[in-house]
Structure formats: C-alpha cells, structure tokens
Amino acid sequence: MYRSHVLVCGGTGCTSSGSAKIREKLQEEIDKNGLHDEVQVVKTGCFGLCALGPVMIVYPEGSFYSMVKEEDIPEIVEEHLLKGRIVTRLLYKETVTDNGIKSLNETNFYKKQHRVALRNCGVINPENIDEYIGTDGYQALGKVLTEMTPEQVIQTILDSGLRGRGGGGFPTGMKWKLARNIVPDADQKYVCCNADEGDPGAFMDRSVLEGDPHVVLEAMAIAGYAIGANQGYIYVRAEYPIAIKRLEIAIKQAREYGLLGKNIFDTGFDFDIELRLGAGAFVCGEETALMTSIEGNRGEPRPRPPFPAEKGLYGKPTILNNVETYANVPRIILNGAEWFASMGTEKSKGTKVFALGGKINNTGLVEVPMGTTLREVVEEIGGGIPNGKKFKAAQTGGPSGGCIPSQHFDIPIDYDNLIAIGSMMGSGGLIVMDEDNCMVDIAKFFLEFTVDESCGKCTPCRVGTKRLLEILDKITKGNGTLEDIDKMEELCYYIKANSLCGLGQTAPNPVLSTLKFFRDEYIAHVVDKKCPAGVCKHLLSFEIDPTKCKGCTACARVCPGGAIEGTVKNPHVINKDKCLKCGACIEKCKFGAIVKK
C-alpha cells in the first residue's frame, strides 16, 4: 500500500510542455529520499486543463500543482511528500482560498462539468488494464454477453438517445439496428472506430484514446455483439503517436486477459480489433472515404446509398462510430438508458466534450451536459477572454461549422440549436475569437483548409471551393466589390447542394455564417477598404503619431524595407510607398507611437 499517489498528466498537451521529464525527475527524487515504497507515481491521461500544463495532482490531499518545472520537483518531494507541507506557491491559484485548499471539483473550470466520456481521463493509468477493470471496466461487456440479447443492447442504445459525437449526430442505436438487420445473411460484418480526428483545434478523441483506451475497445466489442460482427478496426491519425502506443498496449493487454479474441467470457463470442493508421487526409473522416482508405486506396468518398450499414468495408455491412460515441456506451449499458436520457435537452441527450481553444484563458478539455449555454462554457468554465479583450465569436464544427456571435451567447448548445444558427456541433472543437480576429480572414483560413483537403473527386467541391477562396482572397486584398459578396453567397449554396460528401456540403458554412453575422466586416473590406480588426495587411496603413514619437530610431533600425525616415530625437515618418506592412516597427516601439489603421 502506498500512502500517497502522484498523478502526472501524460496527455499530449502536458507531454509537449515537458511532463515526461518531470515524471522522471519526480521518481528520481522519490528514490533519493527513500520514498519509493510509500509514494507511487502514476502517468495518467489528460486532466483537461491543458493551459496550465504540465500538471500533477497529489493524493490523498488532492493538491493540484500546475505549470510545474523540473527545478520545482525537489521542493515538492522534500516539502510535500516527505514532510507533508503543501507547496502553496505551485498550487493552481483557484484552489487556494483563505480557508485552505478547495477541491479541484469546486473550481470554476470543473464545477459545471459532468464527466461521462472523460470519466477515467486523468484518473487511471491508461497503460494498465487492471486500473480500468478497477473502475468497472469490461463489466458492461460481461453484462451484455451474459445477460442481454443483441436486440436488447440495440434497444438500450436507442432508448438512451445517444447520437453520433463525430459531428453528424445520427442516432447511434439506429445505425446499429440497420447494420444488424439490413443484410440478414451476411457472412461477415465489421465494427469501425473513427479516430481520425481531423478538425483543426479538436482534440477530445485524442484525449480519450490517450487517457482511457480500453473504454473504446470495450464499446467496440459490445457493438460487435449487437450487430453480429467479430472484427473491428480503429482508424487513428498517425499524428497521434501517444494515442497509437496506448491503443497498442491496450489491445495486447485485452487479448492477454481474454477480453478480446476467441470465446470472450466463455460465451462463444469472438471479437478482435486491429489498428489502421491514417496518413493525413481530412476527407478520411467521412465514413465511406475512411473505409476506402482502410482498404488501401486513395481515401475518396463514394455516393450513398448504399450506406455502410449495408455495404461498407470490403463491401460488408459495417458500422462506424467516433471515439467519443463509443466512450459513452459502457456507461449506458451499466447505468441504463434512462440515466443517460436524463441528461441533456429534448433531442440531444447526455454530455458533450469540447476542446476549448483560441482566445480563452482556460484552454483545455471540458465535458458538459448538452444544453449548457455558450456563455457558461466560455465565461465560467473557460475563464473568459485573456488581456481584457472583447468576445467576438466562437467557432464550432471546424471547417464544416460556423461562427457564433455574442448575440447567441445564451443559446443552449445542442445539435439542433447549432444547426439552426448556421453552425454545427462537429466533433467538439470550440475556438474562441476576440476583437483582434478578422472574420473575413477566418473564413479564408477555413477555405484554404478545404481547398487543400478536397479530394478532387467531385467538381462542385474541387472547383467551387477554389473559386470561393479566390473571391475571399480578392476581398482581403482590398479588390473586392459588393457584387463579389453576392456571387460568393450564391456559389456557397451551389456547393452545398451539389457536392458528393459531407466535406463539400459543409465547406461553405464558414463563409455563410460569417456573412450572416458579420456582413458589416465584409462590407468594410469592399466598400471602405478597411479591415476593422487590423488583420488583413493589404488594407492597413501604418502611421507614427508625432506627439508620442521620441525619435529613438528603434523602428527605423528594425524596418526591413527602409521605409521609416527621421533623425535622432525627432519624430519619424513612415514612407507608405516603401512600407511592407510587416508590423516589425510596432513590436519594437516602446512608446506606442505607431498605429495601424
């Protein structure tokens, strides 16, 4: 028995900020102080508060240390672990109160969260199957195999109201039901997991795979039993090395324990899982493209119907669900459909994980009941916008989604509400933008992405997105006209109506939603030839305020174009013909004398 456990986050965010070295150092110091029989160091998955990484938590006290540096470790070991004195200066500020330390669950970041899919992330060691089993792991699979018929399993998932967490929001139970029944005499069926999390700025699936890989394996086996499949594939991004490694370990351990393989729990049910690595193609998040890619081809989508439930991988009935969807399944089986359906809104049940990013204080991972408002997520959980800036919009749904402006701040987040205001749930990336972000530039950013990632198979998407991007580029360079805006809008609807797959059908959304809510910014670009946020370089002009300029010459020395003229101790002037608009002078000026307009 250990008297103390130190949980160190080993997710990608914290690993990137050096948590592996911290863990080594911690073990070294613990050994040095002769505490190795008393204190155990555990590498866990993501805690969620990535902005404060690297993070660790010491139990039983529950002290949450944030932004820990290697040189802090001896102090933590000697003071806290050896002498029992908590190192207050390293604690997460929010947990320190006048009356002592409050629990992490009472902080603003955590108190409105409700963790179902992320239940084990940051709690267990993902590389140890016993810890997963210790938190009821594989119990749901046991229950399903020994007490339930496949039809009952499907009915439970249907009753729970679980909808696909990858973006589309299709009822999961319906998908399973179709795959079970549509081809009654199928000799082979497949269960696939979409772990090709392609939306830039979304990292919830990665965190589940890194923090709790067994939950996905267990759920896939349950799905296999429900639809009558004995082979599963997880299609995971090659860009997620830690997730891949943990999945490999988890599959190996589950096979050793007889939880994957032949005759699971002596019930005669066989199920095994293999990994397939993606190779960096966003379109492979689309179900038919993903399956084509697993087959070893260019990952191009194909028309539906037939849907994968009828003809999927290798032409066999196949279900494809996303990681977060699977992560909910074992809990639904154990706690019942009513429990799950009691959370959320009328048509969107349960919880949703969001990856908070962009201009927000608490970047990280949060899981909230469906129906939580954007305001609660951004202001309360996310801690608001840094540097006293003003909220402008939240972008959800990645390149398929849209921007939600402040007038919809109080909208309860669920699938249908987001679609109604021209955005979508997507996989759960939630990027916050402030007044310094130009919405035309953001639309252009997403179009650059879709042009790059369009597979080229159908013309509306291949050519249409390219034309959209050209118009946006023209507008950001100050050459746009009002007619361009109308033309662009019209083109958006053509692309949406005529593209083959979800990528093209949703690609114009970033343009349409910014046009809807921020049309004035577009107009400012084409009529006034100004970029109100000061982002689009071609529309900016730099000037020196002669009353503030002290003539220190710092700007003239840094200017790459030699555009700044003036003599020492006299106000300088920018020659607009030579100015490259690089902004180097602004960064160097200590007196705030240079303004961009």
Binding site: C50, E197, A202, N437, E587
Partner: protein, 164 residues
Amino acid sequence: MGSTISSIPFAGTPEQEKQLRDVIAKYKSEKGCLMPILQQAQEIYGYLPIEVQKIIAAETGYPLEKIYGVVTFYAQFSLNPKGKYKISVCLGTACYVKGSGDIYNKLIEKLGIEGGGCTPDGKFSLEACRCIGACGLAPVLTVNDDVYGRLTVDDIDDILAKYN
C-alpha cells in the same frame, strides 16, 4: 503532399531494401496492406521516391500508378526527402487565431524556402501541419520530436540557433 519529383538522387542502401522487402513479405497477404507498407517504407527511407514505389509494385503486384496515386493523395507521404530537422508549424485553428501564420511566414523568410521545401544543405525542411492537438500551448511548432509552445515571432531565432 509534394507531387513534384525530387531532383536529389536516390541513395537507398541494400540494408534498407532488405528491410523493405521484409515489411512487404509480412503484410502482403493481408487485406488493405498497401497503407501499412507505405507507412513503414517511409519510416525506412524517410520518403517514398519512385524507386521505392517500384519495388513495392513489383512485390505486391499493385500497379505502379495505383501506388503513386495513393502516395500523392495523403499528406503524410512525401516524394521528397526531408531535412535533418523537420520543422512543422501547426496551422490548426487554435494556433492560427493565436498567430501561427506569422510564425510560419517568419520561418519561410528566415530559412529562405517555401513550405514543403528543404534547405539546400539538407538541414531544415519546413511544412505546415494541421493540429497536433497541443492547442493548450498554442501557437506551437515541432522540430522533429521536440515541441515548442506558447511561441512568439521573436522565439524563432533562438529555436533555429539550437539546431545550427
């Protein structure tokens, strides 16, 4: 996705070819074997020149044009060799709104190469990548396996200096 053919001569060794043939032998009877073979071939050679694709075609029986089609489809496969130090700047949304575009442009300027290119001495190659999932540290870039986060344009010189 670099679809132009590299002008740098192919310099594969017999050891590499043996490794490649072992990989092909291991996978070729499996369904959907092409992706894992190409992924491991790129691990062995660092890129997938036409010479390597020809070996794969001969051993697996897939037509060369199919293999070339797959290689050029996926961003992860490269027809060109990468630099000793591979710099990837994340242009995912979270990093972009925090200014990673400026960092990328600064690197293009400093290294004198375009995105996807490699410096003539083979030292640095530069590419943009989509979200490595370290959004909490935005904006980020990676040099091989090292991750640098919470960057500003001013950090670029120090980072490059570490590898020079």
